[in-house]
Amino acid sequence: MVELERQDNYIDDINRELYDIRDEFSYSYKADKGLTPEIIREISGKKNEPKWMLDFRLKSLQIYNELDVPPWSPDISDLDIDNIVTYVKPKTDMKISWDDIPDEIKDTFVRLGIPQAEHESLAGVGAQYDSEVVYHSVRQYLLDQGVIYTDMESAVRDYGDIIKKHFMTCVPPRDHKFAALHGAVWSGGSFVYVPKGVKVDIPLQSYFRSNAPGAGQFEHTLIIVDEGAFLHFIEGCSAPKYSVNNLHAGCVELFVREGARLRYSTIENWSKNMYNLNTKRCIVEKNGSIEWISGSFGSRVSMLYPMSVLKGEGASSEFTGVTFAGNGQYLDTGAKVIHGAPYTTSTINAKSIAKDGGVAVYRGIVKIAPRAHHTKSTISCDSLMMDNNSRSDTIPVLDIRNDEVDIGHEAKIGRISDEAIFYLMTRGLSESDARAMIVRGFVEPIAKELPLEYAVEMNNLIRLELEGSIG
């Protein structure tokens, strides 16, 4: 029988029980607090890593110590990195059968609906419980087509050449301080390779969950979609809440080869003490395309700007994102696109909701290189303010280095109008239902891009977030 302990830190979080139940769980190994080369060696040793990876980690640690936090960043002075245990290894080792997984872990995943989802419609599930991937499966027919879907630790050992060639080349450790930190202490995550011409017809999904108090989460995702292939990858994140500030500094590196297409969907629902400093980037070759679907909920501070590097002629990128900032939250999110070749196109469609003093910032960059003629970019930012205490900013940067481009940009910041609420209430809807309906409608363009169970989860999250403020 699992003992469940509940901690409600904020009054308006009462309705988040489903996501905020912490399991009593014992860990077989815990690193000392703080970051030293010895800890890095220990982590690497535990994972039986090749020497090149250990060297990479040590080099990253050095860069981490050299770099400062960017000057424009939201306030993260509360975050004491030395006080965060960077590595927590769950008791269990890799399992292939759901039945073999310890009950405590299973229970958490059952609560989040993971096994059902896996049984019902998904091609494979890699679920990360704290730092190690504990459960992994891929349908046999994908294996037969040469699709690789495994955890990063195994990938480093089993596909060393391919990993060494790609690992943190898309997001180098020198990129920023937290990328360097990631390079030093990364743990867990997924590796996917889709061979030339293979179309993976059902989504692959991974579900990350951070559970240990004070534990960081530094998973690494590396996906290569080879020429003409297709993949839809879904990443879901949900963390229960603890009194110690938690840090998430994951890294996602995506490689889309010529004529390939990748859709990368995320619903992140972090506990409200989490610092989510995640880096996601995709390099797109000729005529390839990347589609980002991104939902950012929870966390205390988020800094997240998925970047598309359109490297080959005719490459395209589409970003669709929604951010929901409630009481005590500062969510600084957006998207970046670099048009590095002619005839490339990009679309950014970002929506944000701010309520109860929450701050939602859209920050984005579109860069168009001198040689990238005949490029096209459309940016649209839409913010919805639920009250007068909240804040919403739009900081779009356009850096255009040639004349033959077609750029469209629009930004809207709106409030829920009292007349719209009244209109819906004359049709019998309560005030809270009317508000929820308007917010659901606002995010509908994103919800409709998600697989059904994720759209449902997003609607549930919105409902939970809204209930906090309405009496």
């Binding site: 109008s417 009292d418 007349e419 719209a420 009244f422 209109y423 819906l424 209430m425 004359t426 049709r427 019998g428 809807l429 309560s430 005030e431 239902d433 009317a434 309906m437 308007i438 659901r440 409608g441 606002f442 995010v443 509908e444 363009p445």
Partner: protein, 252 residues
């Protein structure tokens, strides 16, 4: 005497500091159609909105009762659940929610029981076709990008689906061409089956060629200055509101 469906007594209503309705009385019984006419600024829309509890309007004095229950302090949705409905002069556009899903939620809220998807859609389709609305409107976002005429049809559709006991139609016929007026009017006629009641607020007589009123009230400067039958429409048509204004002043 039978209990009134709606009774309004000594109604004083303000927007901000400005008093708009200055002592209005009205009684509507089951099955009756009441027409309210009056020049711009007379307080017609104010009446419609205060009856539904729009928070922008302040009830200064007076009482409103629906089926004998005082509704002065009821919220808008509670009034809707009692069986009151307002067709808006300028319906709101709501993004991301289809007309069908919206109406199914509304119907569920009002009846307390969610209708089944299939049978609801079937009924909706029939009512839409009666109003000359193609099936595709069910999947469109609520009023979003609808023309003026389409919005008014959408309002009448909502009335037919939600089946209120009392429908308040605020200039539902304004801005419509002759064909649209005929379609909207036929929708109202379908609804007026002797059981249902309506308040029709209008400037034009065209709609009254299709829907026969039991009572006509002339609203002027926040008060009903004259009540009567359909013959009042003729007087307005021939002599205008100014004539009545003069009569009101001279106390005739």
């Amino acid at each position: 005497m039978e209990r009134a469906l709606l009774s309004v007594e000594d109604l004083h209503v303000a927007i901000g500091e400005k008093l708009i309705l200055k002592g209005m009385n009205l009684r509507i019984d089951k099955g009756e159609v009441h027409v309210i006419m009056g020049p711009n600024g007379a307080g017609k829309s104010t009446l419609a909105h205060i009856l539904m509890g729009n928070p922008r309007y302040t009830l200064v004095r007076g009482n409103m009762a629906f089926e004998g229950q005082n509704i002065n302090s009821l919220k808008t949705d509670e009034r809707a659940r009692l069986g009151m409905f307002l067709s808006f002069q300028y319906p709101e556009e709501i993004s991301g929610i289809t007309l069908e899903n919206f109406l199914r939620s509304s119907k569920g809220s009002i009846t307390g029981k969610n209708p089944s998807v299939l049978s609801f859609y079937k009924g909706l389709k029939e009512k839409m076709s009666g109003l000359g609305m193609g099936e595709e409107y069910a999947k469109r976002n609520l009023n979003e990008g609808f023309s003026g005429g389409e919005k008014k049809k959408s309002e009448i559709l909502q009335m037919l689906v939600l089946e209120p006991k009392l429908a308040i139609l605020d200039e539902t016929d304004s801005g419509l061409d002759i064909d649209a007026v005929r379609i909207v009017a036929s929708g109202i006629r379908e609804y007026m089956d002797g059981e249902h009641s309506a308040i029709i607020i209008t400037h034009h007589r065209a709609i009254l060629d299709y829907v026969k009123p039991d009572f006509v009230h002339i609203l002027l400067n926040g008060r009903i200055i004259e009540s009567g039958g359909a013959e009042l429409i003729e007087i307005i048509e021939n002599k205008g509101f100014d004539h009545l204004r003069e009569s009101a002043k001279s106390g005739v």
